[in-house]
Symmetry: C2
Amino acid sequence: MNKPSIVVLGAGYGGIMTTTKLQKIIGDTEADITLVNKHDYHYQTTWLHENAAGTLHHDRTRIQINDVVDFNKVNFVQDTVQSIDPDNKVVKLEDGELTYDYLVIGLGFESATFGIEGLLDHAYTINNINSARYIRDHIEYNFAQYNMFKEDRQDLLTIVVGGAGFTGVEFVGELVNRIPELCQEYDVDPSKVRLLNVEAGPTALAGFDEELVEYAMNRLEEKGVEFRLNTMLKKCTEDGIVVEKDGEQEEIATKNIIWAAGVRGNSIVEESGFEVSRGRVAVRDDLRTPDYDDVFVVGDCAVFFNEETERPYPPTAQIAMQMADTAAHNLKQLVNGQSDLEGFEPDIKGTVASLGHTDAIGVIFDDKKLYGRSASIMKKVIDNRYLLKLGGVGLLLKKGKLDMYH
Amino acid sequence: MNKPSIVVLGAGYGGIMTTTKLQKIIGDTEADITLVNKHDYHYQTTWLHENAAGTLHHDRTRIQINDVVDFNKVNFVQDTVQSIDPDNKVVKLEDGELTYDYLVIGLGFESATFGIEGLLDHAYTINNINSARYIRDHIEYNFAQYNMFKEDRQDLLTIVVGGAGFTGVEFVGELVNRIPELCQEYDVDPSKVRLLNVEAGPTALAGFDEELVEYAMNRLEEKGVEFRLNTMLKKCTEDGIVVEKDGEQEEIATKNIIWAAGVRGNSIVEESGFEVSRGRVAVRDDLRTPDYDDVFVVGDCAVFFNEETERPYPPTAQIAMQMADTAAHNLKQLVNGQSDLEGFEPDIKGTVASLGHTDAIGVIFDDKKLYGRSASIMKKVIDNRYLLKLGGVGLLLKKGKLDMYH
């Protein structure tokens, strides 16, 4: 009668893995579990750049929640979170509200726009299935328009990707595979197409091993990518962008601006009164917020510091999933009246960045460098491992990247 | 040394059939044959509505000119005709000019806009491969946008087809097949989509047998088409259309206006000084213009009157192809110094209007009515017959509609 209720907000990597773990370790008599999500599907954020480029259909990227969550054990509410009132233990939804005893916030990321003029109005961001599909169609539509004009509308065929971090470079890597297909589909001379990757910092893929970064940039440049490093995006307009390098400004006409230069935590968290830095809650070791013993944060809304480097761990799927394990374990302890909670210990197994169908770079086991086909295969292995963990062999066979050589 | 030169302008039904016929019946020593066309491909105008709806890929509709024209026998010039100077026997092209002894004008149609306000700026027309593909992408893009808005943007999902003649109805027929696919691809509730067919006249498919028209309208209405008969399109804006019926005006919000209500001959003909009516030259019996003994007009730039009904024959592919036969025969006579030319005798074998994949209506052999699957099969038989005539068995196998039951 007095079962505590656990509410999980968001079915991204952190939220859905917390939920599937909870449904395994918590019995019907121990607690009620509720999962709230805007859509009836989970999606793999790390694959969205492929959907946006048009190299992978978005249905491959999304997974119906009822394929992996047991609706006999978990109450699923399809609704949009509006705000959280942690003092009264209430979550306001678009169509109602929910009370909780324990809350898990897994509301994901938003694009960080750094106050760049016109960015919100004129740039596209790869945030979710809808926006990824929209970017795919936006680029296709501009290619389709090109032959409708008598004048040479180069701006329709110029694609600018803002940010040469992980997402920016992976997206560019897919686009170099996609552009030849677009040219064929829309009767466009490939030499007319420009693909620019603009990065404010001095290097692409900051944080990666230098040798691998050089490999990646060389490979992408060979395929036509123009990197603009040390270059700030100053302004976006309906007609293009203004960039600045060494104090000199340049206008570039483009109808395709895709912003992939940074993320922050979902602004609902900040607006609900939680203390944040760039939208993220600096969680305690046990992944609870500093002020609330009944609120956990997992994934991109949480920030966790690496004690050795004193820098935060990057907001990756890998970290989100590991956080889910810890949060689920600690929730089990709490609903059973146990007060000893486990501390979160990130275990970075490796990082692989894709450069298109059969190319990638990566570092695994701390220092082993991979590139080319072997890195590409490793990337697919990682993706498939996730599916196996989330939904077993059935899900792996349904959504996995099983053709390792393409 | 003194071989006469024959120049054919345009590789539509009339132009390409004239050319392929000429290359068969005129020897190398008799005349030089030149074909001028904007693209290096011919396309089947009667299939464009399928490309525009997205139910058939445009590569199925186009045929490389060198697949059917023998470039050893015919000089092919890929260029755009600017104007014709029939007094000096010169054709001005974008990149040069050509002189001729005999000219065949097969420059095709343009959309007739009837002076409707805003039509040119805000409506799309199914004119060629580029514009058909653009319409497909325009509709897809609007569906892709729908889920990007918080508000219910019904205008993105409302498709208005102007004109319920042959092209309008055939296009609507394809769209009813396409819309369920679009809804699935873009996560749109099918009940949100509206498909309107606006027609100024009192009936759809004017000129067709009444029983067949009723069948067609019933079938399309069952699939969700809203016919608006006796309804004038008064105005197109960026946000939609204004229609008028019985003196009452109504605004309909839509981002998808496709105009399929009428065609006229290519305006180059009129601008070159030929006497025209709605852009068409009222040709003599032998298909020459009234004023020039060395200029033939075939296809949609020509108008030929039915002596019995005193009405012009409709501008169809069937008529264009038959004209090509007559024009080629008469050219052969002229280059051989013969003055007896053949008169054009249209032979209407039948007319079939498609209502989507497996449905159609038609009349063949003057009075035999067909509908449903048998009419649909007859339509494909007609399409395949054309390919066979144009390019033999090879072309039929390559581009034909060989799956008769879908």
